[in-house]
């Protein structure tokens, strides 16, 4: 393990990779700050650029973008009460009231220190947990992987759909259907290509991510006539007050951070749960831990109320890398995008990544930590300047997002057909978003489609076409039970609502 850490440090500390982390954090902060544009959009916009790099460099850039986007999301939550990402909604509960009391600088500092501490503790957990889990996951067979993928898709649908479970499941099926277009991997038989040569290689992952996130988010802002920059224009973004914390505030944070980190990391590891649930749970948990006097301050600018969700959402971000790096199965939409990028580099994440590509495995973990340090020492002092991005008029912002999306896909294929297909998917995605059909399950399903089919193929061939493989092994049964529990829980919730 020590050798691996040293390899990771060597890779992560190369001048080029350090530059990439810095650029990633900076770009991620700016994109994440813009309401409506989250880490998935930020990473999606980076993918075409990273294809020219070595895999470790590309991944380091994307990890930096991810953390930067989460940090940027907190900034817009605190300053203008417009969370850039769902994971920072709980941040606005106490962050925005603090900003209104003239303590915006302090709120941003608490958010930054909490994120840093949460990320650091979670990175240590990841450092310990990932290699051990990699060894455990070597015991997984095709039926278990198939079951795990179904579990991941069901969990993401249950957690991310906000009560629209059936809509999310339809999106899962749509994602899998899109992934089935093109030649069959084993027999090379064309499927759903309608004799169109442009479809024989299948639909590009970058195209689908760009269309369903970057492009469709931009179109949704215009379609709903939203102006995310309206609030930012009404406040002073350059005078945010002191960023220094006093002893009492520091003491409060010291007690909050460890428990929120542990909670955030555990939630992050669970498939589908992610930073949003982690931050809300941490906020609720913290409210139960503090004394009555502090409890009264919750929602009005409590230090504990701000530190808890910020710590938890960053810890959850690190936690979400555990299933990706150890099993090769992403637990969230964002890590699904990263899996797609890894596959694009020709790397198959999974238990053997730790042995076959140690430089990638460890450098990603190391660069996460470096990203945290950069966010703290670089972004925090620069926030008054970076925050001006919030006031960028949407009249410039939207065309530039569309331009980056079209350019991204054009650079990959130099083909008009892909541009038209991207526009078509983006238009459909915009309509679907309008009626609460969630996009993360679609992306996760699209990325997992090929792997899922492959594992089902192996399982069915081994069991001679019988579905008995689902209850042949205790591990598969355990996964199956979890899936049934999630589906049953969703059904009970629906029936209860209908009863009301």
């Amino acid at each position: 393990m020590i050798e691996g850490i040293l390899i990771g440090l060597e890779t992560a500390f190369s001048l080029k990779n350090l530059m990439m982390v810095m650029i990633g954090c900076f770009a991620g902060t700016i994109i994440g700050m813009l309401p409506g544009l989250g880490p998935m959009t930020a990473i999606a916009l980076m993918i075409p650029i990273t294809y020219g790099f070595e895999p470790s460099t590309g991944l380091i850039l994307m990890a930096g973008v991810y953390y930067g986007a989460v940090f940027g999301g907190s900034t817009s939550s605190i300053l203008i009460n417009a969370p850039g990402i769902p994971g920072t909604v709980a941040t606005s509960f106490d962050g925005y009231p603090m900003a209104q009391q003239g303590k915006a600088g302090k709120a941003l500092a608490i958010a930054a220190y909490s994120s840093f501490a949460g990320g650091t503790i979670a990175a240590i957990f990841l450092l310990i947990a990932a290699p051990s889990l990699s060894k455990v996951s070597l015991a997984f067979r095709s039926p278990d992987y198939f079951g795990l993928m179904i579990l991941g898709l069901t969990a993401v649908s249950a957690f991310s759909a906000k009560g629209h479970f059936l809509k999310a499941m339809m999106m899962v099926v749509l994602g899998l259907m899109l992934a089935s277009v093109g030649q069959d991997t084993l027999s090379d038989i064309p499927r759903f290509t309608f004799q169109n040569m442009n479809l024989s290689d299948g639909i590009s992952f970058v195209l689908v991510v760009m269309a369903t996130f970057a492009m469709s988010e931009a179109l949704t802002i215009i379609f709903k006539a939203n102006d995310p920059t309206r609030v930012a224009k009404q406040i002073s973004l350059s005078q945010l007050g002191s960023i220094k914390l006093n002893k009492v505030e520091t003491k409060k944070m010291v007690t909050t951070i460890p428990r929120s980190s542990v909670l955030g990391f555990i939630i992050g590891v669970l498939p589908g749960a992610g930073s949003t649930i982690a931050s809300f749970l941490a906020y609720g948990m913290e409210r139960n831990f503090v004394d009555d006097e502090e409890k009264q301050k919750f929602g009005k600018g409590s230090v504990n109320g701000l530190a808890a969700p910020e710590t938890a959402n960053n810890a959850a971000c690190s936690g979400s890398f555990v299933p990706l790096l150890t099993l090769g199965i992403p637990g969230s939409g964002t890590t699904a995008v990263m899996l797609g990028a890894l596959l694009g580099f020709g790397i198959q994440p999974g238990p053997r990544l730790y042995q076959t590509n140690p430089e990638i495995f460890w450098s990603v973990i190391m660069s996460m930590y470096i990203g945290m340090v950069i966010l703290l020492i670089l972004n925090l002092p620069l926030i008054p300047y970076i925050a001006r991005v919030l006031a960028t008029p949407r009249t410039f912002l939207i065309p530039l997002i569309l331009f980056f999306s079209v350019t991204g896909i054009y650079l990959m294929s130099f083909n008009n057909f892909d541009i038209y297909m991207m526009i078509g998917i983006a238009v459909v995605a915009t309509i679907l978003r309008l009626y609460d059909f969630p996009m993360p399950p679609l992306i996760l399903a699209f990325v997992l489609g090929g792997l899922m089919e492959e594992n089902l193929r192996r399982s069915l061939l081994i069991s001679d076409g019988s579905w008995n493989f689902l209850w042949d092994r205790p591990l598969t049964i355990a996964i199956l039970v979890l899936i049934i529990v999630i589906v049953a829980w969703q059904m009970i919730k629906t029936l209860k609502k209908q009863g009301k």
């Binding site: 020219g52 906000k162 009560g163 629209h164 059936l166 809509k167 499941m169 339809m170 099926v173 749509l174 899998l176 259907m177 089935s180 069959d184 027999s187 038989i189 499927r191 759903f192 179109l219 215009i222 379609f223 709903k224 006539a225 008029p393 949407r394 009249t395 410039f396 939207i398 065309p399 530039l400 569309l402 331009f403 079209v406 350019t407 054009y410 650079l411 130099f414 008009n416 541009i419 038209y420 526009i423 238009v427 915009t430 309509i431 679907l432 009626y435 609460d436 059909f437 899922m452 089919e453 089902l456 193929r457 069915l460 061939l461 069991s463 001679d464 076409g465 629906t494 609502k497 209908q498």
Partner: protein
């Protein structure tokens, strides 16, 4: 009877799944593979059925959380114009070239969205695209086909 837009979308997805299932059955597999436990059409067939089941469930079951969208506040004009501009951008990017088509797309998009600061419109289109192209073409060695720049002799 009034049917909600979400149910209409689910109904369309039901029809789409039916079409997908029909197409999945039409996939030509090798003769020796036809009776195999798993062939190229097995997974798509399962997907087709899954699509039919989930969409049918949504259409038939009562909605617990209907999505309320006020259709009167949606900006159809700007959205459709932007989509048309993107299609035209896609149409011209290979024929006219990256520089001119991208710059014109950006200028028109800024104007469609109501921007009237002409200096910024200019700076964030032609010079911006030129710098971006230099980064791609000059520094990252990514070739960008551009008949217009070749015609005026800027690009070799």
């Amino acid at each position: 009877m009034k049917i909600s837009p979400s149910k209409i979308i689910s109904l369309l997805f039901f029809i789409f799944s039916g079409f997908y299932l029909y197409t999945a059955h039409q996939i030509q597999v090798f003769t020796f593979d036809e009776n195999a436990a798993f062939n190229a059409k097995t997974f798509p067939i399962y997907l087709g059925y899954a699509g039919l089941i989930f969409s049918a469930l949504y259409v038939l079951l009562p909605e617990t959380r209907p999505s309320n969208v006020d259709l009167t506040v949606l900006d159809y004009k700007k959205t459709i114009t932007l989509v048309i501009l993107m299609i035209l951008y896609g149409l011209t990017i290979l024929r006219v070239g990256y520089f001119l088509s991208t710059s014109i797309f950006l200028v028109l998009s800024y104007i469609v969205l109501g921007e009237r600061k002409w200096l910024w419109i200019f700076l964030l289109s032609f010079p911006f695209v030129a710098i971006f192209m230099y980064l791609l073409h000059g520094l990252l060695n990514i070739y960008l086909r551009d008949p217009f720049l070749q015609y005026i002799g800027v690009m070799g």
